[in-house]
Amino acid sequence: MTKPHLFSTDAHKYRSFLAKGLHSPSFVIGGAITLFFVVLALVSFVWTPHDALSVNIAERLKPISTTYWLGTDHYGHDLFSMIMLGARNSIAVALVAVGIGACLGVPLGCWAAAKGGWLDEAIMRTGDFIFAFPAIISAIMITALAGPGAINAIVAIGIFNIPVFARLARGAALSLWTREFILAARLSGKGSVRITIEHILPNIANLLIVQGTIQFSLGILAEAGLSYVGLGTQPPMPSWGQMLSEAQTWLMMAPQLAIIPGMAIILTVLGLNLLGDGLRDMLDPKIRSSLDIGGSKAS
């Protein structure tokens, strides 16, 4: 009985997994776009071309130039610096929200799968209940009740990620619980917590990672939506959704104010979706075997 692993501990096989990935165009393009925005976000902590928060009316609505790489907005804010800060906010909010969803959802789903019975029912029906609400409307409701702000946006988006991960984890785990290697592990005296950590989680990790990237892109969209209606990141801290809503009245005179943050949102979401697609192709056992990626398979 080999212990199944997604990523083989064998360094050679791991490298070969990445090498295969480089042949997948969606993985490469999606990864590159995502990496670009992540780097932008990280660099913004130490450096931006201009102070993105400093108003300079004399320099407002400047076109694209070597000084202002993407021009300036109606307050004289440098758009490129704002995009960088916006990337940081979007990524931070989406990442933490997905983190909340995964950290709570996955254990709940695994717990439901391991125990079954009324506990399973209770967890999953609660999940269905949350799921049945249109997520963005409920997020608006939560931020309207708790007050607007990035933290509340994170919580609101995070809550709706919980059932997504719980469902996925439970479904995948349930099918594993009937497998022989799990049975063997049980016979050898392992408890359900240990089995879940040692056998179930490594085998559903690929599914969770793919779902994670998709949820991440949805989180970025949700953050942009909330900020657009004024419930997400609060000014003066810029965010892409806020920039879009500010640009509305300028559509005729300075369309770039809307186009630039709009493109940033589109590109990030596209990048993450392509990345998710690429990862799924690489991790899907059926396709994986045809790609002949190393690493032992489950069972």
Binding site: L53, Y75, Q234, P235, Q248, T249, L251, M253
Partner: protein, 499 residues
């Protein structure tokens, strides 16, 4: 063959007639209806029971009238009172009312209605938002059917102006309680229908006592969104926005011959209201530092796109008693830092800035936060809705700073009120206002008003940012709409379409 040719000819001429009829009818008769865009829906339509400007913007001079009225330039004109005499001591006013005036419900307007309206407005259980206007009145008596005698507790120079406010509208005892939903006034228009959330339609009152309105129908359409306002005007769904919400869009109309952009003055002193009752804003040096640290010209350019006038106190520049103090605190961040150092705050401090949901406030807030950051003051911007602003800031006084435009005319007296949200409790200023209230002589009043403006400027009570401009956009063929807003109103009595 012949027959069919004739048929064609007939059809052709008929079509031609239709086409010409269509085009000429528009040229012959000017339109008699108008659609005005307004940003906010009024909570109700009783101007004597609410502070919302949106009420007066629909009812003033259109549905309700008072004894006097304010015209486009802020002058006092007779309305339901055709004339008046004031006793030499300034305490007794005799109003001669117009005869034959009827309310929309057909009842007569007479001296008893005046007594009722003014007693109701200043009574103990009055819900009038401007009760202070009527405070100097001692008694109102009907001498005969068309004569009213009003006695004051002390001479009050602004009394005739006060009676011209929308809050001093004349109402009938029979309908006063239902005016909120079914306003019954004496004006040239009456309410036809109110579609909640969408529009309010007025139609001409054919039984009007004075010069009848030229328009037959006026619709106030509620358009909350700036981008939608632009689209509505461009598409012709709305004929006029007396107050267009987004000044940055005005250049698009200026270049379009179909529209007229009219920039006028308002009574709106836009201020950075400062809670004088909390630390560190109780220190005049800190308030002065704020005044020096804010670049107000760039604020007008950045937030209002150049539409606005610098002010230095709580007083409208177009008023004859205006004293120009707008350059006392010119932008000087170094001086601001010095003053903060004197006040022992050289390391800066943090404060909360509450921003109500208007573009001028939200935009100014962002610019002020950036300016103040340069002198070490870190502002937390808190966007609030109107209800929250009214309860937390205005009533609860739980704030450090907020940005708001005070649009009531001649409202410098609010600084003498202990209960007002500025928490400015200054005996010297109160004495000036008390003296002003007791003075009827115009020259003396001007001198006292100068003193009052100077005192507020010396104490830098609030950040006096700019006088809000009235940025109106309307169809170039409309004439008679007010360019200025000396009072919250959209007076439609003289509005008509030109050919």
């Amino acid at each position: 063959m012949m027959k069919s040719a004739r048929k064609w000819a007939v059809a052709f001429s008929m079509a031609a007639t239709l086409v010409t009829a269509g085009s000429t009818s528009a040229a012959w008769a000017a339109r008699t209806d108008i659609v005005l865009g307004v940003r906010l829906e009024p909570p109700h339509l009783d101007p004597t029971a609410g502070a919302a400007a949106a009420i007066d913007e629909i009812t003033y001079a259109n549905i309700f009238e008072g004894l006097t009225r304010i015209d486009e330039h802020g002058a006092i004109k007779p309305a339901l009172a055709e004339s008046w005499t004031i006793s030499a001591d300034g305490l007794t006013y005799d109003f001669k009312l117009h005869e034959g005036v009827k309310f929309h419900d057909g009842t007569d307007f007479d001296a008893e209605d005046v007594v009722f309206s003014l007693d109701r407005a200043r009574g103990e259980d009055s819900v009038n938002a401007q009760k202070a206007l009527f405070e100097p009145i001692d008694s109102v008596v009907a001498k005969d059917k068309y004569t009213v005698e009003m006695t004051l507790k002390r001479p009050t120079g602004a009394m005739l102006f006060n009676l011209g406010w929308g809050d001093a509208a004349m109402v009938a005892p029979e309908s006063a309680e239902t005016n909120k939903t079914n306003p019954v006034g004496t004006g040239p228009f009456k309410l036809e229908k109110w579609v909640k959330g969408d529009s309010i339609t007025l139609i001409r009152n054919d039984a009007y006592w004075g010069q009848p309105a030229k328009l037959e129908k006026a619709t106030f359409k509620i358009v909350a969104d700036a981008a939608a306002s632009l689209a509505a005007l461009m598409a012709g769904d709305v004929d006029a926005f007396p107050i267009f919400p987004a000044p940055e869009m005005l250049p698009q109309f200026e270049n379009d011959p179909r529209f007229k952009v009219v920039i006028g003055t308002t009574e709106g002193e836009t201020i950075l209201a400062t809670n004088n009752g909390v630390k560190p804003f109780d220190d005049v040096r800190v308030r002065k530092a704020l005044a020096y640290a804010i670049n107000r010209q760039s604020l007008i350019d950045g937030a209002m796109f150049g539409y606005g006038t610098l002010i230095g106190s709580h007083f409208a520049p177009h008023n004859p008693a205006y004293l120009d103090l707008s350059h006392v605190y010119d932008y000087n961040p170094e001086k601001a830092k010095e003053l903060l150092k004197e006040a022992g705050l050289e390391d800066g401090f943090k404060a909360r800035l509450f921003l109500p949901p208007t573009d001028y406030a939200r935009r100014s807030g962002l610019i002020i936060a950036s300016d103040l950051k340069k002198v070490g003051i870190e502002l937390e911007l808190i966007n609030v809705e109107w209800a929250q602003w009214l309860s937390n800031v205005f009533k609860g006084k739980d704030y450090d700073l907020t940005i708001i435009s005070h649009t009531e005319p001649l409202d410098i007296g609010i600084y003498a009120r202990d209960d007002y949200y500025f928490n400015y409790k200054n005996e010297e200023f109160k004495a000036i206002i008390a003296k002003l209230n007791a003075t009827a002589d115009e020259a003396e009043r001007t001198e006292l008003l100068h003193q009052a403006q100077k005192k507020l400027n010396d104490d830098a009570v609030n950040g006096f940012l700019f006088q809000l401009a009235k940025t109106g956009v309307w169809n170039a063929k409309i004439k008679g709409l007010w360019a200025n807003a000396p009072i919250q109103a959209n007076d439609l009595t003289a509005v008509e379409w030109m050919d």
